[in-house]
């Protein structure tokens, strides 16, 4: 049954877009969730994301394997996370300012090394065509789900379980809630935060690789538009729970897909305003969920922005 499905195209495109656009958010926000649960805020994830996108693309191009590219992106993300964590260990360092510095540095480095990779084409990450049963092209497109999305769901579930039920998770949470209690337990707070930040960076790198290796699927200097930063806001909105990060990512993915979805049915007025939708949504949610009087529920006690 093929044919014009008219305005049904919009919610369908939003659904498909939500899945497609949310995947990098899932990885970056779960990564940042891990970092913030340990008591540190990493604003440099935007730079890590962009560098992950560039390095993933470059390595995928040279090795002709998208998975190798993704692994490389994770590796470089880890390095950026380690850098952030190591510098923040030093006394009197403002971790928000360091995040901004690494954002600029990571982005600059990515643009610097990425110049020769704008034209060449690298292999894409595989996707599973879950819409094979339908004859309508839009349904097929919407249900063409990338493997990393499914990996992201598993990641969110696994991280939630890890934080709640394992020793490692407890260590991270104690370091994030009360550094004094952690030290009393003999935990090296700086080291826990270092490795949480590194893990967060690695996940952000994977999120970046998704951007360049699947959707939009190519490397250029405009590939990220603040996703790393939105993910940080998203973690606050999700109340530091990885499962909520998953749902929030889907919400943001849907908002981000609004622009292209409307374009696909021919609505071109207000193009830029629809593209601003995710940012407006992020800001609105941030405003709604912040408060000066109540301490934010379930905020890690040691996080500098909630103290």
């Amino acid at each position: 049954m093929t044919g014009d499905i008219g305005l049904w195209g919009v919610p369908l495109a939003i659904f498909g877009g939500a899945i497609r656009v949310s995947t990098p958010f899932i990885f970056v926000s779960v990564g940042e969730c891990l970092t913030e649960r340990s008591g540190r805020i990493n604003l440099g994830l935007e730079g890590t994301l962009v560098f992950g996108a560039m390095s993933g693309y470059a390595v995928a191009y040279h090795t002709d394997s998208a998975w190798a590219g993704t692994a490389a992106a994770a590796f470089f993300g880890l390095l950026f996370g380690l850098l952030h964590g190591w510098i923040c260990k030093l006394p009197k360092v403002n971790d928000i300012a360091i995040g901004i510095a690494l954002m600029i540095f990571g982005t600059g480095l990515a643009f610097f090394f990425g110049k020769p990779y704008v034209q060449p084409v690298a292999p894409d990450l595989p996707a599973i065509p879950l819409g094979w049963w339908s004859g309508i092209p839009q349904v097929q497109a919407a249900l063409h789900i990338n493997v990393l999305f499914l990996a992201g769901i598993v990641l969110a579930l696994a991280t939630t379980w890890m934080l709640k039920n394992t020793r490692v998770g407890l260590t991270i949470r104690v370091a994030g809630d009360s550094a004094d209690a952690a030290r009393a337990l003999g935990i090296d707070v700086d080291r826990v935060r270092l490795w949480s930040t590194a893990a967060g960076g690695a996940l952000a790198g994977i999120g970046g690789a998704y951007l360049s290796l699947y959707y939009p699927g190519s490397w250029n200097e405009g590939i990220s538009s603040g996703q790393g930063l939105m993910a940080v806001a998203l973690v606050i909105f999700a109340r530091w729970s990885p499962i909520n990060c998953l749902f929030a990512s889907l919400l943001f993915g849907g908002a981000g897909a609004l622009g292209p979805a409307l374009q696909s049915v021919g609505v071109t007025e207000g193009y830029y305003l629809f593209y601003a939708a995710p940012y407006v949504l992020t800001l609105g949610l941030l405003i709604a969920t912040s408060s000066t009087t109540r301490a934010m529920t379930s905020a890690p006690g040691e996080l500098s922005i909630t103290k």
Partner: protein, 369 residues
């Protein structure tokens, strides 16, 4: 140390020249300078790693940024928006607010100025310029002051909200410039209608750079006076030190936050206005040129001090002015300057740890005992 030596040391410390305050002042200049040099050395190492000559790089920076009169006009022209953009970061920073969305205020200020030029083109020149300045300043004040208000009333983290608002501002600018405010004659590059000639801002006589430079320098000096020499500035610095203590003292922390962020926004908006009125002639997408982000770095390098922002802006304007020459001569991408800036920024933030770790005048004191 023997008792006599201890007394002698104390006497030397209290007497005349090397007071604690002086040591702090010297440290405040040496540390950022050392960090700048360290960052440049790290960048030189980076260049060596990729097989380029750092000496050639810095020689080209000197030549294109500071070597000739022509390069000076180029540099100073680029410094004008940077001065104002850096103030947008530095002023709220004295209150402890890290605001990095100045880019949004610049863009909206430019659009406001362009809109004034388009909607009311028949005013006499000076009045038109004042109208543009007010519109641009107001746009910036609302945008950045709004961030301060959100922080005070809702506790929203100002760093995140400022960057989000910057993205929203750019989207808004694109929408307005390509839609309601679009000049039908601008086909290839959508922009607002060109400003009437009498609204254009000219050059400082003899310098070849537009008046935005003078405005920027004046703004920096006024900001320094405001922060260091007035009671409001003093109150702001107390809020920056400890908000709760300030509130206990009865200081209107909220008003100060909103006031200073709005002032920073005014400066950023004016930067946008000068870009439109003195450089481009109309508002279009080239307003989002990254001045806001370079301004962040300049503000931190200058330790948020208005007077120090002036040389820091000129330095970074020189780096950016030389970017084109470096691209051509050394075959490096234009992101090279971004890498340099990032490294310098990291070095500056690292230098924070070294604060108060050195006893700067110990060698002199030891000699005196």
């Amino acid at each position: 140390m023997s008792v006599q030596a201890e007394i002698a040391t104390l006497a030397a410390e209290k007497s005349g020249f090397f007071t604690e305050a002086m040591a702090r002042k010297v440290q405040a200049i040496i540390l950022p300078l050392a960090a700048l040099i360290a960052g440049m050395i790290a960048f030189a190492a980076f260049l060596l790693l990729i097989g380029k000559s750092p000496l050639e790089f810095y020689a080209l920076v000197y030549k294109a940024g500071f070597g000739t009169a022509f390069s000076w006009t180029n540099t100073l022209a680029r410094a004008a928006p940077l001065l104002l953009a850096a103030l947008c970061v530095a002023l709220p920073a004295r209150l402890g607010l890290v605001i990095i969305g100045g880019e949004g205020a610049i863009v909206l200020g430019g659009v406001a100025a362009g809109a004034v030029g388009m909607l009311t083109p028949n005013m006499p020149g000076p009045l038109g310029i004042v109208a543009m300045a007010i519109a641009a300043g107001l746009a910036g004040a609302i945008w950045i002051g709004g961030i301060g208000a959100l922080r005070h009333y809702r506790g929203v983290n100002e760093t995140i909200s400022s960057l989000l608002l910057a993205y929203i501002a750019i989207a808004l600018m694109n929408h307005l410039v390509e839609g309601p405010l679009r000049d039908p004659a601008s086909l290839n590059k959508p922009s607002t209608a060109p400003l009437p000639d009498v609204y254009r801002i000219g050059e400082i006589p003899g310098l070849g750079v537009h008046w935005g430079l003078a405005a920027g320098i004046l703004a920096c000096i006024l900001s320094w006076i405001l922060i260091e020499k007035t009671t409001w500035g003093f109150a702001a610095r107390i809020v920056g030190g400890n908000v709760k203590a300030a509130q206990v003292q009865g200081l209107p922390a909220g008003l100060l936050m909103i006031g200073f962020t709005a002032l920073g926004g005014v400066f950023a908006g004016l930067a946008g206005m000068f870009e439109v009125a003195a450089v481009h002639g109309s508002a279009n997408a080239s307003l989002a040129a990254g001045y806001g982000y370079t301004g962040i770095l300049i503000a931190f390098l200058a330790r948020h001090n208005g007077l120090a922002i002036i040389p820091a802006s000129i330095l970074f304007a020189g780096f950016e002015a030389s970017s084109g020459l470096i691209q051509r001569r050394l075959d490096l991408p234009d992101a090279t300057v971004l890498v340099l800036e990032g490294m310098v920024f990291i070095a500056i933030l690292l230098s924070d740890t070294l604060q108060d770790r050195f006893d700067l005048f110990s060698f002199i004191k030891r000699r005196q005992t």
